[in-house]
Amino acid sequence: MAGNGTNGQQYVGTRTIRPDGADKVTGRARFGADYNLAGQLIGKVLRSPHPHARIVSIDTSKAEALPGVKAVITRDDFADMPSEFIPAGEMMMNYKDVTRNVMAREKALYEGHAVAAVAATSAVIAKKALKLIDVTYDVLPHVIDVVEAMQPGAPILHDDLFTVGVEPKPDRPSNVAKRVEISQGDIDAGFKRADVIVEREFKTAPVHQGYIEPHAVLATVSEDGSAEVWVSTQGHYIVRAHCARLLGMDIGKIRVNAAEIGGGFGGKTVVYLEPLALALSRKAKRPVKMVMSREEVFKASGPTSGAVVKVKMGATKDGKFVAGWAELKYQAGAFQGSPVQPGVMCAYAPYEIEHVKVVGYDVVSNRPKVAAYRAPGAPISEYAVESVVDEIAKKLGIDPIQLRMMNAAHEGTKAAYGPKFGPLGLEETLNSIKKTEHWNTPLRKWQGRGVASGFWFNIGGETCVSLTVNEDGTVSLMAGTPDIGGLRASLAAVAADELGIPYDKVRPIIGDTGSLGFNFLTGGSRSAFSGSMAIVEAAKQIKSELCARAAKLWEMKPDEIEYAGGHVKPKVASEKVTPMSLVDFAKVAGKTGGPIGGVGRINAQGAGPSLGTHLVDLEVDPETGRVTILRYTVAQDAGKALHPAYVEGQFQGGAVQGIGWALNEEYIYGADGKLQNAGFLDYRMPVASDVPKIDAIVVEVANPRHPYGVRGVGETPIVPPLGAIANAMENATGIRFTELPMSPPKVLKALKEKYGAGGAGR
């Protein structure tokens, strides 16, 4: 397609040094908590110690009287909102829930739910003030588990929550917010055609995104009602939209600056501290800085759902999948909105299956409201399906890669969720894996090998970037999507190639909400995909403007002039005119009509799904149940890798997050409904010595809808690991583990039951 740089692809596809790199390795880069303003106050949040309690009264008078305390806020400082879904940015939000999640109203719905907040002249005083706030709770019975929450007689979180999506409409409230379903073909007929049917129930624990930087914000509200915010977020325009709505402010009055962000993975797409800091600042008339502790991050920001998933799949004896059924029960946390819908749609998406029916339930319980986590919902349902696929392969005696290949979705396949796919790279990833030395290496006793594939949609969405040609011909690139994993390197490479100028002559920055039009957030694997599209658009404007001005300078027609190789020149070389570089043109910009620049404003469409296949070797200690990951290979379709090193990094990072999810990460609750492992010590994310090198194979099946062929890559890598590791565990032990995490006590128990102590019977 067009694009592809007037100078060819000199930088796209190469491993350039990231433009923000020097600041990141010297400590100069400013993350959320690194911003300070003169006169700032420190804000802290009082959180509910109870998982479920009616808030009878809140007395803040003693806290307010403490010297140094400048503002105290509670539910009374936020307007109530009706229950309706309205757009916020691109998203649909129910602000009745949002306002209650940032500050408890009638009830505290989980341990750690914000109940009040203070701003004081120091952290020590703010902490002291929290202890002086008297909250009278009427403690209510709580429910944590998703299945228990669905039972009749379970404690009800919301009296006005009636299950949507069931007929007849329920006449009493429940914890089931909605039932969703996709189906095609005739599922019963499909199973009648099957020679082999496997049915299994799976359980997964809630896991946290685990970004290393806790949520942090600095906000200041002026006497005239205008506000400025510095915040670690995946979407500063979304922060602006939410805060404006919650605080009754005009969107244009709030300027939000995206700080460098220390990881998000979906967890920084919503607001927690931001509206509180603004409300405190508005009240105190001083800047307010708020930073969560790690314990607060675990207790009060979104993990993803734990779930119970039933899968039933049928295949013919020659290995053709004919029917896929599943039932998904996803925890939403205290407010509705689990990722069960994408879980339903993704469950069978990697495969061509005629008869599919998947039903999902979105279930509230007394846990923190879930937030997006990398391919939200998909890892859970695809783990269950990939486990069953492996079992079918074993029953049929077909190689698991071969079985997947026989059923792989490809261009023209009708997706399990409806429409036909364009070009897809699943078969290519399977082939790449099969060709690795890894796949062909022998294993020893108690070692196992597993393979699994994964699918994620990817999205585009509203995107605005600007390219400004400076007086010396260097180019300022401004994007409006926070750069979490090297975005600026990719975008600068695209801009340099589009304009045919050196990479280091492009300086990319992330603009604030006042400097560019609306940008949807960094998420859905969209920022490099959409941003590069918008840059192509902005560069096109610059090139056409240059040609138009050159036409006037050279007294030629614009269509006789082109921009190529970094120069404006006549299409047919002429002795009368000398081609002008961008640098040459920058010098005369003022004399030829003023500054030169382009703004790409698009709603990017055409995001192509990215599919991946993971291969893992592991070893089980039969005496302790401990699992060691020995070797790991990822192959994934990137469409086109703008920056191969950062694409590989996404693959590797996602794989290791998946390893954590599969083996040791989980939210552990006591009978009292309180989280017992709200810290990195007992919430066991993989450390460097837990994992081997992760081989990354970048497959490139171009996305025809993108000028460079790009597909988003950030989310798919976390989808296959759970299934791949479970399949490797089966291969190592002969046991099909159906509950995550596969932590040592569970593994040892299963081994003992099957083989006796120490695996002696194997």
């Binding site: 302790t624 401990r626 007992d682 066991r684 010595s689 006590p745 040892l748 128990k749």
Partner: protein, 286 residues
């Protein structure tokens, strides 16, 4: 909150005795600071013992080794003669937390934090280490297994603190080992810990042994039955099984976020056996 860093044992004792129990001793701080941050403890006075010479030294004493209570794990690891004599103790100290934590964490702090899961404590107990305590009424020696009475409960009297530990002389053909179980490779609190110290005769028969288990009871256990199970043996399969059975029988663990009762009991047997095999191997080659 007051902070004092006395330079003598007497100075520290005087501060602690005057504080009426509202003081905390600061050695490496890797537990204390975390607890202060989480508001678990809010002492009036912090007595930093790191400026006291006796707490910071590793010295030979009557053929054994005296280790200051505030010597860090990283320093122990770099002490080649000590590592040669008591590899299990040094290994255990080096399992406490990360490299960064190693730069601060101490044997004294690990013991006095009062956790049954402390990594260095089973190794010290297996080694037969004796703690030297200083208090208002002078100094006294107490075997490490008698220092901790239960979770967060110590046998220390008001005003007392641990100054140092004495590891006994190492006879020929003797060695120790420590193993712990954690789900990850690093950065976890022991789900089970096992320290074993063994001496063998010229024929390879075990003449003396001490076995200690951590994280399987309210306090770290010295399991005499487990030692008896292997003394007189060459740690053949039957002896290993007797050892494992005795270790399992001694466990009185809880079910918690770090492991189930059943798991801890099973793994205690496994680790006791594996640690004994390592200690045996080392002892034979000396």
């Amino acid at each position: 909150m007051r902070y004092e860093a006395p330079e003598s044992v007497q100075g520290a004792v005087a501060l602690l005795a005057a504080a009426n129990g509202d003081a905390r001793v600061l050695a490496g701080g890797t537990d204390l600071l975390v607890q202060m941050r989480a508001d678990v403890v809010e002492p009036e006075l912090i007595v930093d013992i790191k400026r006291i010479r006796e707490t910071r030294a590793v010295t030979q004493e009557n053929g054994g080794w005296r280790i200051g209570a505030a010597v860090t794990g990283a320093e122990l690891k770099e002490h080649a003669p000590l590592k040669q004599a008591w590899p299990g103790v040094v290994e255990a100290a080096n399992l406490i937390g990360s490299t960064q934590v190693q730069g601060r964490a101490t044997l004294g702090g690990n013991l006095c934090n009062g956790s049954p899961a402390a990594d260095s404590v089973p190794a010290l107990i297996a080694a037969g280490a004796v703690a030297k305590l200083a208090g208002p009424h002078g100094q006294r020696d107490l075997p490490v297994e008698d220092v901790m009475l239960g979770p967060r409960t110590l046998a220390l009297r008001p005003g007392e603190f641990v100054v140092s530990f004495l590891l006994p002389p190492r006879p020929p053909r003797s060695a120790d080992a420590y193993l712990r179980f954690i789900p990850r490779t690093e950065m976890d609190i022991a789900v089970v810990g096992a320290g074993v110290s063994i001496a063998v005769d010229g024929a390879g028969t075990i003449t003396a042994a001490r076995v200690s288990l951590g994280a399987v009871a309210p306090r770290v256990l010295l399991v005499a039955e487990a030692a008896q199970a292997i003394i007189g043996s060459r740690l053949d399969d039957a002896a290993q099984e007797r050892l494992a059975a005795a270790a399992r029988a001694a466990c009185r663990p809880i079910d918690d976020k770090r492991g189930t009762t059943e798991f801890r009991v099973d793994v205690a047997g496994v680790l006791a056996r594996r640690a004994a095999l390592i200690a045996m191997d080392r002892a034979r080659t000396r």
